[in-house]
């Protein structure tokens, strides 16, 4: 693998955005994801290879997060570095030279205003090469249904933070399954368990964003 690509992957994993960014301490003053991506494109390295490097970096930090070796702040810095790369790759996505892995419709269910957990999921899923359509918080089921209609082939993610709003989550899952039985749904948030997820008819549950990526990647590979 090209050395530049390896370095980009390393920058993404460690959250090194650009040269000016003081994070992480050990990479102060070094070039970051931003500069290295530009250099890689100038050196005619294919956007696919760069994208793969990013995904590998995100995958590694996600796994470290799941193992409790790093925490949310590190994960967010990695996602930010990933975004710096994405900004350079934007034209290739537009032209269709590179493709996103798929589309993920995400939102916090009706009656619930929590967004920090959902935002983390968005950042990490995007960082792993998916397009995320974020519907925000307090999302009524009709809004989810509309989004699914307008986004053929999408996968849906629902977030809730209280047991009381889990009731709305359950209703939303059921409505989705009635109208779009083939659409896969993953749920998450503090009060949920795999058991509760399956009971409400969802296809998956994860207690962290990395699990959402694993779920999505598995479906897209199938």
């Amino acid at each position: 693998m090209d050395e530049l690509v390896v370095r980009i992957s390393h920058c993404v994993e460690n959250g090194k955005i650009n040269k000016a960014s003081p994070y992480p301490n050990a990479m102060k003053g070094m070039e970051g994801a931003d500069e290295l991506t530009k250099q890689a494109l100038d050196a005619a390295i294919g956007p696919d290879a760069i994208l793969q490097a990013c995904n590998d970096g995100m995958q590694r930090i996600g796994e470290r997060f799941s193992r409790n070796e790093v925490f949310v702040p590190e994960l967010l810095m990695a996602a930010k570095a990933m975004h710096a790369v994405m900004a350079h790759l934007e034209p290739f996505f537009k032209s269709g030279t590179v493709k996103v892995k798929g589309k993920f419709v995400l939102g916090t269910v009706a009656g619930d205003l929590h967004d920090i957990g959902k935002n983390l999921v968005r950042m990490v899923v995007e960082g792993n090469g998916w397009e995320v359509i974020d519907l925000g918080v307090d999302v009524k089921s009709t809004k989810f249904l509309d989004a699914i209609k307008n986004t053929p082939g999408c996968i849906v993610g629902l977030s809730a933070l209280l047991t009381t709003t889990m009731v709305n989550m359950s209703k939303t899952v059921q409505e989705i399954k009635i109208q779009f039985p083939a659409t896969k749904v993953i749920v998450g948030g503090a009060p949920l368990t795999m058991d509760a997820a399956l009971k409400m008819g969802a296809d998956g549950y994860s207690h962290d964003p990395q699990g959402a990526v694993t779920f999505l990647d598995k479906i897209s590979a199938a």
């Binding site: 992480p24 409790n68 702040p73 810095m77 996602a79 009656g111 205003l113 935002n119 209280l162 047991t163």
Partner: protein, 248 residues
């Protein structure tokens, strides 16, 4: 010198407690713990960010807190809850047993207001998601602290009446359903402490806490009986454990 926090009786037995930001001791260790790091293990960069958030915290807190004292009816010998005032709260038997010797109960709520939330949202829309997250966590820890201060205040007030208090318990913890928030809020004046309860039992501002504290001559605070509770995923257990480890 012991701090005495002023309180105002807004309606009979309903008090607003004038907690000031200076009454809190928002501890950096608690924040690091809430972020997941063990003591001293937070990367320097994030520590600096936390310092920055902490320096702006006072101007982003609009603390409001209050409680209402009600009679506890123990004529009933059910172990699945308690009558507080004229309403029955359905509680786990462990919590019921901790509260059942109470003569009175203090139903409380507290909030640090919406400003931290708004700040976190703005940062998030601007793409500064890491700082946004830190603001959110600092806000949560500050709200927990506020509730600690309120609990201490209630304890002192009750001591002056020759009474003791139990631990505090909140809907959503220890198998007490969050939907009972509606019952709890029915005892407060509308918009008490600036907190509104939505149909889905969510308090707005988000950084708010509610609960109950038993009061009486025969009650006492105990170590949280987390080990006997069935809620395996409750992080309060971990939080408590972390806290006792450090302070004891």
């Amino acid at each position: 010198m012991e701090i005495v926090i002023p309180q105002v009786e807004r309606e009979k037995d309903t008090f607003e407690v004038k907690i000031n930001f200076r009454d809190l001791t928002v501890n950096k260790n608690d924040i690091e713990l809430a972020l997941g790091y063990t003591e001293g293990a937070i990367p320097v960069h994030f520590e600096e960010m936390v310092d920055d958030v902490l320096s702006q915290l006072p101007s982003h807190c609009e603390i409001q807190a209050g409680y209402r004292l009600l009679d506890v009816n123990k004529s009933d010998d059910r172990n699945d809850g308690l009558f507080v005032g004229d309403k029955f709260f359905k509680l786990h038997k462990i919590v019921t047993s901790q509260l059942r010797k109470s003569e009175k109960a203090a139903l409380f709520i507290s909030t640090i207001g919406p400003a931290m939330e708004t700040w976190a949202k703005t940062l998030s829309t601007e793409g500064d998601i890491a700082l946004s997250y830190l603001v959110d966590i600092v806000a949560s820890v500050t709200e927990e602290q506020t509730t600690d201060v309120l609990q201490d205040h209630i304890e002192k007030q009750m001591q002056m009446r020759g009474l003791k208090i139990t631990n505090r318990y909140s809907p959503g913890y220890c198998d007490w359903s969050v939907s009972e928030q509606h019952l709890l809020f029915s005892f407060f004046p509308v918009n008490f402490c600036g907190i509104v309860l939505t149909d889905s039992a969510l308090m707005v501002p988000i950084k708010s806490v509610s609960g109950i504290i038993g009061v009486g001559t025969e009650v006492k605070k105990v170590n949280y009986t987390c080990d006997t509770c069935g809620m395996k995923d409750c992080t309060y257990r971990a939080y408590r454990r972390g806290k006792t480890k450090r302070t004891n």
